[in-house]
């Protein structure tokens, strides 16, 4: 069992408080999402906020940065009460929020986004050289690979997130708030970002940090505040808490083992065979096989083309050549609809841009993909949909205070669960999940892992694309590693380790190994 909990911290009058929340509360109509939050944010410290999905973390951050106005309570800085009319005022006072969702103007370039609203230059025009130079500098400091003149709409999700972070770090700030900055990042970017956060702290900036990755919290946090159901459970010193204790504080119960046990090796004939697929701006010469009853993990660095490969496979972006057969049937170049009918689905990593209709109610989102299954006839029946929604909310543990909310009003993690529920509603045989647990809290992660396990035990096949190495290793029966658009390695059984995945994903020789590994695997298979 776990060690008894250490004592909570209370206000330390000597600490240099950069920002204080006094009795903050927020209600949307009759729904109270936060109540009575009193919190000191201390300069020169990293203050982590943890809690389950829907606990109110993002809402609290938006209150602190004045993106949302509180229903109760107020903020104070340096002992003075402050009432920011909007986020811009808060930024001017030195409080900046890096949103959980990406907030950038898609048609503008990276540098233009960074400097939006505070461009350098005078009457003779903006000074693009200076802005580009500074942008390049900031991007490099956080390990982003994009250039100042890249158009944001052309960037993959991870790079957009880094651009967003760069935007917050452009000027000197008193308080920087990160809302799940690492959810869309992979290991090396995470490492770089953690260094940035430490750098900020060392310069005396107060950092608020939200993450569901408790290892980051443990490595980084000077203080940890736990939220549950919109209330503050308490604040602890970071070094006092173990990851396990944090998880238990969040969830309010003890957690079981995270990953389900591995399944016996499969023998069945492959259900999905892909060969020689070429995807524009993505995969080169890609081939893979998938058997019923297995979890195939896909590893690789960010930008290695994993998302492109599967979007191309699904006909969601231009793809050429190649052959795709499912259960022996050639389904190359068919529409998404045909593949859905054949039992093949893809769950996108970009839940806001490609997954959910943010201003439509939950029920409509839930059934959009499975309309044909849910409503056999021509007509839609609202009652059926509500029943389904109730079932899915229970099954996937979607935490909402009202079933009538629009998808955009759900917390990030709950949106992810809704997306999962939506895709599962079509009753697929083969499920491709891109970043299955992005933004999901620790308590629910194991639920999702169990769920994937039960799917494959029922004879279905799952492909998991993940940037979280422990997840990839803990879940997969077999792992393919991608690098620069190519599948460069295939790992089985004991060879599935974090080191091997990282090695294959980054090693320069991997390019030479690739052919042999790929050929071997192809010969192994019937």
């Amino acid at each position: 069992m776990t060690a008894p909990l250490p004592k909570t911290l209370t206000g330390d009058p000597a600490a240099p408080v950069a920002l204080r929340a006094e009795g903050l509360g927020k209600a949307y109509g009759p729904i109270t999402v936060l109540s009575d939050i009193t919190l000191d944010i201390v300069a020169g410290e990293v203050h982590a906020i943890i809690g389950e999905n829907g606990a109110g973390k993002s809402t609290l951050m938006k209150l602190l940065s004045a993106h949302v106005q509180p229903s109760l309570g107020h903020l104070s800085m340096a002992g003075q009460r402050v009432d920011f009319p909007d986020a811009v005022a808060a930024e001017e006072a030195g409080v900046v929020l890096v949103h959980q969702e990406i907030l950038l103007a898609p048609d503008l370039t990276v540098a233009q986004n960074l400097y939006l609203g505070r461009e350098l230059g005078g009457w003779l025009g903006v000074d693009d050289h200076r802005m580009d130079a500074r942008t390049t500098e900031v991007l490099a400091s956080i390990g982003a690979h994009c250039g100042p003149r890249d158009r944001v709409s052309d960037l993959p999700l991870a790079q957009r997130q880094l651009v967003q972070i760069a935007r917050a770090l452009l000027d000197d700030r008193k308080v920087v708030i990160f809302d799940e900055p690492t959810a869309v990042l992979a290991n090396d970017e995470v490492a770089a970002l953690l260094d940035v956060v430490r750098g900020l702290r060392d310069r005396g900036v107060a950092v608020l940090y939200i993450s569901h990755r408790l290892d980051e919290v443990e490595a980084l946090a000077d203080r940890v505040t736990v939220l549950r159901d919109g209330r503050m459970i308490g604040t602890w010193a970071g070094h006092d808490l173990s990851q396990r204790q944090m998880a238990e504080l969040m969830v309010g119960r003890e957690l079981e083992m995270l990953y389900p046990p591995k399944r016996p090796p499969v023998t069945a004939a492959p259900i999905l065979v892909v060969s020689d697929l070429e995807v524009d701006h993505g995969a080169v010469h890609a081939g893979l096989t998938l058997h019923p009853g297995e979890v195939l993990g896909i590893g690789g660095m960010i930008g290695s083309g994993r998302t492109e490969l599967f979007e191309g496979l699904m006909g969601l972006r231009p793809a050429h050549a190649g052959r795709i057969t499912m259960a022996g049937q050639d389904i190359t170049r068919r529409s998404v609809r045909d593949w859905m009918a054949a039992g093949l689905v893809y769950l996108t990593e970009d839940r806001k841009g490609k997954g959910l209709l943010l201003d439509e109610p939950m029920a409509r989102n839930l059934t959009l993909q499975a309309l044909d299954n849910v409503h056999p006839g021509f007509v839609t029946k609202a009652r059926n949909e509500m029943a389904l929604l109730e079932r899915s909310v229970a099954e996937y543990d979607i935490r909402v205070r009202s079933l009538g909310l629009e998808a955009g009003q759900l917390s990030g993690g709950n949106q992810q669960k809704l997306l999962l529920a939506k895709v599962m509603l079509v009753d697929p045989q083969v499920i491709i999940i891109d970043e299955p647990t992005r933004g999901i809290d620790i308590g629910n992660k194991s639920q999702i892992y169990d769920f994937i396990d039960s799917l494959v035990r029922a004879g279905k096949a799952v492909i998991v694309v993940s940037s979280e190495l422990p997840e990839l290793v803990g879940l997969s029966d077999r792992v393919l590693v991608m690098r620069m658009g190519r599948i460069v390695a295939e790992l089985h059984g004991d060879r599935i380790t974090e080191q091997n995945v990282v090695f294959a994903a980054t090693s320069t020789e991997a390019g030479d190994q690739r052919e042999t590994v790929a050929n071997q695997t192809r010969q192994e298979e019937p």
Partner: protein
Amino acid sequence: MTSATSTRATPEPGRRIRWADMGPFLALALVIVIGTLINSNFVSGTNIANVVTRSAFIAIIAVGATFVISSGCLDLSVGSMMAFVTGIMILTMNRLEPSMGANAILVGAAVGLVVGAACGLLNGLIVTLGKIEPFIVTLGTMGIFRALITWLSDGGSIPIARELRDPYRPVYFGNLFGVPLPVVITLIVVLAGAFILYRTKYGRRCMAAGSNSDVARFSGVSVAWVRTLAYVIQGLCVAIAAICYIPRLGAATPTTGALWELQVITAVVIGGTLLRGGKARIWGTVAGALILEVIANLMVMSNFVSEYLVAAVQGVIIILAMLAHRFIR
């Protein structure tokens, strides 16, 4: 890209939406009240019947436009298409009349529906397969349809055969249990439209395509197909409007339906449908069509506006009605 819907401070989503939805009806009520104050004849039975009956054309076409707009597209060609379909129908009827008598009307109407659907299909295919801005495509086809009717009529007019006038007349001037037939037809079209849009799978997909076409695509919705079908529905609505229109004026000319596209889009937008797609208000659209027709009627009924300024007053009233329903709630 994602936009921050979640950060909107939305007080009481439920109540607010209901008020916003009432907007067009409030605006309609407002205009009617003004009308009553201006001229007591305004509320006379005949006048009301006249106004409601004649708003049928715009209302019917606007139902189709609601589909096109909520699926994320636009159709500027409806006015010209209407003229073209009317022309083809009259030519067909006149050709068939000697052999078939009044039955020619039925065949002509059927031909009209087919031609309308085909015109819509053309628009839809160019937009979806050609991947060109709907604005440009339908501006192009607007010119094409207009030119075709000018050519068919040799720059003059295409009148319907005398023999067909009387049998065809009731379609515009007749009643069903006291309700003018065009109103009945409009109601049927609107009910069918509302049913398709709100209660069928197609309707769902249509709004999804307009709301976020990427999400729709990733959910297995064929956005191209959904939009093409919306244009076909638009074409059918135009044909239905044409069927009601012929008995009223008895001829097609190169100016038939001129600028109706603007009226139609205005009716749709006044009705609360978003021009950028994803949200449709069929009943609002009908209210929008009525508002436009009532305002035009008021211009005739009232006497204090110089004839030169009618368009100005009309413009002012539309803007005021929109402002009112924005600030009332």
